[in-house]
């Protein structure tokens, strides 16, 4: 095997011994380069396999031996197809030929799950990168094989744990409502039937009990809404934001009227989104602009700006603003910056916003200074590439 004695300085090109050193005794000067090349390939944390134009393995490293369970002597000189799962094996030579016809570096089997066949027939999930390597002996292909078994397993565990959490939140919310309603009903029935016979203290206690129950009900409703972002989302489809914004302002009609707010907007684009969730997002953000208003009547502007493949939508207000040290905290569930006496709320609204935006593959952030209003910006994917 004359190949891979040395590696040329220029990228992928590996020169054979003869071309690089035309002298009569080429080996000694090349030895350091060869050792370096072998050391790099050998110590790679990924499996590295080089095959020739006929699909014969001419070089493998230690990780390849570990991944596939073969000793390198069992691999070198054999066809690469021995590492391909049985059901793909008949088609593999054609796939190789296609790659060889127009070789360029790329991941193999884009978008599909790839498997490698181990000694004894077991299969392992892998990711494979292919790089053509030109030599005087023809084009070789360098395949880099990554064992993604552990990653797959971690992803699967994460998915299961997320699903369980969302199911738990949903069920807990539903089942928690029932006893809570009972408590509220009977405390209220006490006050309804026995008001005349109770003194002021007793009525205070009843009010505290009812207040606590109401707060718990709001928390549960919001928790339910939070869990629904993941479990009840509609597909992401082209969505016209002008009508979503109109619907949002209709929903907020009473609050807008009451606060004397003025809302303006840029021309709104069409984005790829779940219309219901974007409406919820805008309702929460514009609702916050009204809720955290300053002395002046609220002025809210909804902006739109195209940035690459995304649209960036912003909601700017002239309200009380937020100190920079709280910028991250406000997006965390149940985090609040004000007492309940100052502002009502459960601290779930912006967490829902964040979850919605992230489900769309976007980001959300805030720019603000205390007393100088706030600008919340989120990104959503645009329709055209």
């Amino acid at each position: 095997m004359s190949l891979a004695r040395g590696v040329g300085a220029a990228g992928n090109r590996i020169d054979t011994v003869a071309t690089q050193t035309p002298s009569s005794d080429p080996r000694p000067p090349l030895a350091p380069t060869e050792r370096l090349f072998r050391a790099v390939v050998e110590s790679s944390p990924n499996g590295v396999i080089m095959v020739d134009g006929r699909g014969v393995m001419v070089l493998v490293n230690r990780e390849t031996e570990r991944l596939f369970g073969y000793h390198r002597d069992e691999l070198l000189g054999q066809s690469i197809e021995m590492l391909v799962p049985a059901q793909l094996r008949p088609r593999h030579p054609d796939l190789r030929a296609t790659f060889h016809a127009s070789p360029q570096a790329r991941p193999m089997g884009a978008g599909r799950d790839l498997f490698g066949r181990r000694k004894g027939g077991g299969e392992i999930p892998v990711e494979i990168g292919l790089t053509p390597v030109d030599t005087d002996e023809g084009t070789f292909v360098l395949a880099t094989v990554v064992d993604i078994g552990p990653r797959k397993q971690a992803e699967e565990e994460l998915r299961r744990s997320n699903e369980e959490l969302e199911r738990f939140a949903y069920v807990a919310s539903h089942d928690l409502q029932e006893p809570l309603r009972t408590v509220a009903s009977y405390v209220q029935l006490l006050s309804r039937r026995y008001r005349d016979r109770l003194d002021g203290d007793a009525m205070d206690f009843i009010d505290f009990a009812v207040g606590g129950v109401r707060r718990m009900q709001h928390l549960i409703e919001d928790l339910l809404a939070f869990s629904r972002v993941g479990t009840r989302g509609a597909p992401l489809v082209p969505t016209e934001l002008p009508s979503v914004l109109r619907a949002t302002l209709d929903t907020l009609h009473a609050a807008l009227e009451e606060s004397g707010a003025e809302v303006t907007s840029d021309e709104m684009p069409t984005v790829v989104a779940d219309a219901g969730q974007v409406a919820q997002l805008l309702t929460n953000l514009i609702g916050n602009a009204l809720k955290f208003r300053g002395a002046e009547p609220p002025r809210v502007h909804v902006g739109a700006e195209r940035i690459g493949r995304m649209w960036s939508i912003s909601v700017r207000d002239n309200g009380i603003g937020i100190a920079p040290e709280y910028f991250d905290r406000i997006f965390v569930i149940f985090q609040r910056l004000h007492s309940r006496e100052e502002y009502a709320g459960t601290g779930v609204g912006l967490a829902i916003c964040k979850k919605i935006v992230e489900r769309h593959g976007g980001r959300i952030w805030v720019e603000s200074r205390p007393g100088q209003g706030a600008r919340f910006t989120f990104t959503l994917p645009s329709t055209a590439e």
Binding site: E178, T182, S185, R192
Partner: protein, 146 residues
């Protein structure tokens, strides 16, 4: 005068199908404030409800208040059986539930429920709802009494 005396002579029979004793009592308390004389009987689950409806000794109810989530046989099955039964399907069934889920509402009307009512959270509203039901079903409309 004669009409109201007629009603007074034969109290309205209501069957409440509800497994939560707290909710049963709440409905009882609300109906106590009712103007129309009524007799309320309670079934704690779907199986008991169907047994009472098909029993020869128990009186046929004039109105059925039906919860959806019940042990053994749930409200949807009870509703379906009532509306498929020649001798029961004329009895108005009002679904009285905590659910506000759209698929529950649609499914119940498809199964021929006569009304779908979500139990309000506030007790004053709950009493108001029971009073409205009572007024509509027991005073406004004429019920069939075969």
């Amino acid at each position: 005068m004669t009409v109201s005396m007629g009603i007074a002579a034969a109290p309205i029979e209501i069957l409440l199908v509800e497994d939560n004793p707290a909710d049963v009592r709440l409905t009882v308390e609300a109906l106590k404030e009712a103007r129309v004389r009524n007799r309320l009987r309670v079934a704690r689950d779907g199986v008991e409800a169907m047994a009472m409806l098909r029993s020869d000794s128990a009186p046929r109810p004039d109105l059925i208040l039906l919860d959806l989530n019940l042990p053994r046989k749930d409200g949807r099955e009870v509703l379906q059986e009532i509306k498929q039964d020649e001798t029961l399907r004329h009895i108005p069934v009002v679904i009285l539930t905590t659910s506000q889920a759209e698929q529950d509402i649609l499914q119940c009307y498809r199964l021929r429920a006569n009304a779908f009512v979500t139990k309000p959270v506030e007790i004053d509203q709950f009493f108001q709802v029971v009073r409205s039901m009572e007024q509509f079903w027991l005073e406004v409309v004429k019920l069939a009494r075969p």
